[in-house]
């Protein structure tokens, strides 16, 4: 499967899906005009990729500064997907990176992470 690399814009994050190394990365702000257009193809590709994953390790890093409600729905779907992948016997490591002084992003990360039972979840504060 071809890797997907989309550069960040003012309204959309950097999206780096590397299917060879199983590392996935979202960084920046997320309030694209059309959330399905931005995330749709990448999510479909990821969904197809994880179906074939068998006993593998997958790393997903989220480093977001701001996201709107539609993007939040996408993130929840991603977390769900990661949990399912972990439930199927794969190792899933999720890192939620947030700026140390951003209470909002910290709280959102905690909320997203609280549903995970099988996937590993880590919060990482960085200096803004």
């Amino acid at each position: 499967m071809d890797n997907i690399l989309i550069a960040a814009t003012e309204r959309s994050p950097e999206l780096d899906f590397n299917f060879e190394t199983n590392t996935f990365f979202l960084k920046g702000e997320s309030y694209p005009e059309d959330v399905t257009e931005f995330y749709g193809a990448a999510l479909k590709a990821l969904e197809a990729h994880v179906e074939d994953l068998d006993g593998g390790t997958l790393n997903f890093t989220f480093e977001l500064i701001y996201f709107n409600s539609s993007s939040a729905k996408i993130l929840m779907s991603l977390f769900d997907m990661m949990e399912e992948v972990a439930e199927e016997g794969n190792t899933v490591n999720i890192v939620w990176v947030y700026e140390a002084d951003d209470d909002n992003m910290e709280e959102l990360g905690e909320e997203f992470g609280e549903d995970l039972e099988k996937a590993n979840f880590k919060m990482k504060a960085i200096e803004g």
Binding site: A72, K73, D80
Partner: protein, 345 residues
Amino acid sequence: MDFDLFEKEVRIIERGKTLLESGAITCEEADKEYKKLHSAYKKLFKMTKRLVKMSDRNEEKLNKLAQTLDEKSKMLEGLSGKLAKYLSPQIYESIFSGEQDVSLTTQRKKLTVYFSDIKNFTQTTEDLQPEDLTYLLNSYFTEMSAIALKHGATIDKFIGDAMLMFFGDPETKGVKEDARACLRMAIEMQQRMADLKKVWWEKGYEHPFEMRIGINTGYCNVGNFGSEDRMDYTIIGGEVNLAARLEASADPGGILMSYETYSQVKDLVETEAREPIQVKGIRREVKPYAVTSILKDNDQNQHVIRQGCNGFDLFLNLDKLSDEDREKAKQDLSKALASLGENAR
């Protein structure tokens, strides 16, 4: 009782749970499917709650940002209001409305330039305490600026005790009306100075200020001069220098203007022609006119007739004519008419 925004959803989940635990669903396959649906509903409910919470949080954040922006905008408004005092209101308006470009560009325009200063300022003020000098200068500039703004002058700058102003940019009412507005302003300023002299005298200032005014109408370069980092909206050119020269030659408490201004305002004032002067940068000989008295302002004045062209100059002030002079004027005009008639033949 506490109100729960999601009361209905919570009840559905509870009902589902009770149903699943009751053992009422006897079919194992159906029981499994119901459990899945119940779990999916719980998940969706959690997602909804989270989204609503996040949406509220974002809204709160945006409101805070809007409030900060509002405070910043108010602060900028206050700052620009303070900065505005360093600029002529017309220049400020034209910059803030976007009409005026803040770049090093100039234009050539026919303006009426006003220049004034205080006669013997240095000698007059050398015995004054700084506090007294500050009071005198501030009251002088405050009063004069108010009159200038009333008449629509663009105040270029204060240079020590001197003032440079002009009419015709950035707003103009036409060369004639600009010159007339300038003269009206100069007259009102000198009248106010006469009042202020009394006030200052009574306050104990032995040598109250006396102002001299020079006015000239001509083509000047007007716009932003200086560097890209620090510029001044001002005027330059020989015609500006001429206004300064006229001011230097004016009587204390008087107004001296060039012919170019005089020709635009001659029905407003009585004047006295002075000795021509030469000014560096101006090729022509400059004929100055000193204002000697003010006629009833303006174009509706039926008591003053001022007409002229090359070889003809008529000035008639009915208010000033005695009966005897009136008769003489009639005779002179009759002679002039007869003379015109003869030449016509």
